[in-house]
């Protein structure tokens, strides 16, 4: 089966490609794209969030079959080293991650939000970011999304980093 991942066609061998195998495990264990994380297996935590056909999905419950023929985008292709996504820049500006494990999913969920809403309210952020973080990065995620949204809207003015002390 052919899968379109991050702009490349990747062939999943028949032996690996059980159509019911969740996309998460195809990405991680077959294609070795390990940026997407396993957290719960029941679509409750969002660590496995990727974009399928431009929509954020929880890949731990997305069967491989339903990804066939649709573009898949993972954290590895959210931005590049030279041109990080506005969210990745804001994540560093606000020093968001701690352990970092949930952040791939957080960023992909936030990217989906900003693709649809360039000026999200607090309520819109609350509704869109239902991923779980155990390190408690939520307040910084909220601020970083707002900073990235501002950058994507082309508003000037350097983002205000959180005061550390």
């Amino acid at each position: 089966m052919d899968l379109s991942v991050n702009g490349q066609t990747r062939t999943v061998a028949d032996a690996d490609g059980d159509p019911s195998m969740p996309l998460l495990w195809v990405l991680r264990d077959v294609l070795n794209l390990t940026g997407t994380k396993f957290g719960c297996g029941v679509a409750a935590c969002g660590a496995c969030t990727v974009h399928l056909d431009g929509q954020a999905v929880r890949s731990c419950v997305t069967p491989l079959a339903s990804a066939a023929g649709k573009p898949v985008r993972t954290i590895e292709a959210l931005g590049t080293a030279d041109q990080p996504h506005a969210l990745q820049k804001a994540w560093v500006t606000h020093q968001v991650p701690q352990c970092g494990y949930c952040q791939s999913g957080m960023l992909m969920a936030a990217a989906d939000l900003l693709a649809k809403n360039r000026d999200p309210s607090d309520a819109a952020i609350d509704a869109a970011i239902t991923n779980i973080c155990r390190c408690g990065t939520y307040p910084r995620i909220r601020e970083a999304i707002k900073t990235a949204a501002k950058a994507l809207r082309g508003e000037t003015g350097s983002p205000r980093a959180r005061s550390p002390a």
């Binding site: 690996d16 994380k37 509704a127 307040p139 550390p164």
Partner: protein, 759 residues
Amino acid sequence: MKRRSMLLLGAGAAGALVVGWGLLPPRGRQGGADTLPVATGEIGLNGWIKITADGKVLLAMHRSEMGQGVHTTLAMLVAEELDVSLAKVRLIEAGRDTLYGNVAGFVAALPLHPADMEPGRETQGVKAGRWIVAKAARELGINMTGGSSSVADAWDVLRLAGATARAQLLGAASLQWRLPLAELVVADGVISHPSGPTGHYGEFAKAAAVTPASSVAVKEAKDWKLIGKPLPRIDLVAKTNGSAGFGIDVRLPGMLYAAMRHCPMLGGNPGRVDGDAAMKLPGVERVVRLGPYAGSTAGVAVVGRSSWHAKQGAQALDIEWRAPPAGTLDSRQIAAGLEATARHAASTQGGFPFYAAGDVQAASAAAARRIEAVYHAPYLAHAAMEPINCTAQVKDGKVEVWAPTQLPGMALALAARTAGVSEDAVTLHVTYLGGGFGRRLDIDFIGQAVRIALETNGRPVQLLWSREEDITHDFYRPSGAAVMQASIDAQGAITGLAITSAGDAVTPRWMERGLPALSGPIDLPDKTASEGLFDLPYAIANQRIAHVATRSGVPVGFWRSVGHSHNAFFSECFIDELAFETQKDPVAFRLSLLADMPRHAAVLKLAADKAGWGKPLPAGRARGVALHESFGSIVAEVVEVSLAEGRPVVHRVVCAADVGIVVNPGIVAQQMESAVIFGLSAALHGRIDIVGGVVQQTNFPNHPVLKLADAPRVIETHLIASTNPPGGVGEPGTPPVAPAVANALFVLTGKRMRGLPLV
């Protein structure tokens, strides 16, 4: 301490050069030029630092990065003393040398009272106790990331390593250039002299390794360029692009994957195992029975071509489960037993008295009023985002392990025992940890992974637990109960405080699992059981603070802030009760008991001030406060809470903290926010119920944790300027949040919440 000096004389245009040699105390933690293995072009200067040919600094990183920012903070200490930017420091794996052992973390296990160990006021007993434990910890050399101890432990050691290396490099340049050492300057690892010569560290490293250091002194605070600055963390770019390597991300040629099914009953065993259906599934390769490893419950693993294939196989196993011979556990019965035990001990002066002052019974007899309350706390799971996992390969008599662990040395020893090889035949790599919170101070999963790898014909295998196995087979924060009794005189002064708590002790159970050789048949009193109760800063003349250590049989472990996690809830809620009963403001009441503890008073005042304590709030909102010292740091938190459909909503949290010298204020703020939200998840939702030996919560849908929408919009951190050595940062923000919220809820509802969770 022996100290000798050696003088090297060299003649040069500028005159004689003098290089003194300050010998380190015996069993220092610096190592030598040959402690670290070197690749071509690298020069080792001590057990921590190598210099590359192009002048970069390689730092042996001995502590595990689990979100607390320790890789950045420790690199800052060395960069500061070496006068290089953080970008010039690259981290390498520390080896097994005992110099990487944690000393400060074990010294903190002493049950010392804060009044006896205020900086500058330490008693002789405190000094002697610390010295003895430090010697023992140094001998044991256990590499442990935990107890919020990493910076405190590294503070002198790493700065000295950096300062010594710098002195050697400068000494080498001085000898080579024949210019006085005192006239050399360093900027970002480049040494120069005003007369022109210039060269980077890489050019002098070889000579430096054989150049004894001149008298070495670490920098004075006024000369710090990095310490105290909110430098960006060195691990965050990798944590925003998917490239950061966690345990679960290890990928090796020919790797297999394993899934786990433990006996659902804690401590139980698999009886008959029928793996036929599993083995018929595509991609399933092997079924492996697993006994208990370092305290785990026994079970069965399935090896497959991917984690998913392995999990499909594990689900297809037909297993007859056997209850443990001692019977199955029931958390409700255990909680009732703890309360009965605590009540009995309270009425008989029982339990181990961790602190006693004056005569609490006489105070009670003379009291005008007596207040009594009983508090409870449930078992808690860690539920770190990265589920438990470990990768292992056993091939040609060698074992290689890749593990997200807080305890690499003990993990390595367990791997060796499991594979039946010497420790020299084991290599262990510590990956990033997707959260630790104390769960990864247990090493059960490392024994399991090595055992499975013995069955895969030399192929590496990655064991990954499901979230369900992670939550149902944790080492839980113990359940606890405490009887709190206060005596009040006719003037409303608190004259006596008796606290009698009951619950399992974590440390002896952990020692049995990981260090059986050091465990005896009788448990020594475990300070973690009573911490947060026996060590209160308040001036109450008559006290008896005792704990009854129980043995429930539930696997218990270290959970972020350990005993403080529930004991601060007991003590700071009860203090609030006493303020109310004596009709005093909660902040003013605490301050009235802190006359001899100015650091605590200052922290509380700062939090109250920044939170606008006493100022009006919108209708339906109330403030609550708590003050607590743990892991060498003092934290006060003021929360603003309202109720929405009867459920607490926390809007704002103001933290004030005295953590000693602040190495990186940005990371301290991150950790306070983290600790608050971790504590709030537990305060509002956290509970583990055990019925028939089976943990009832299994995954996030029935084990809820705080999400973004529920998190406080504002968490402020305000730090006290201090000249005391650094205290802990990762945990001390957690204990105050539950009592602060409960105290605010009392203001809102008039009802005292004496059990957790609060909803």
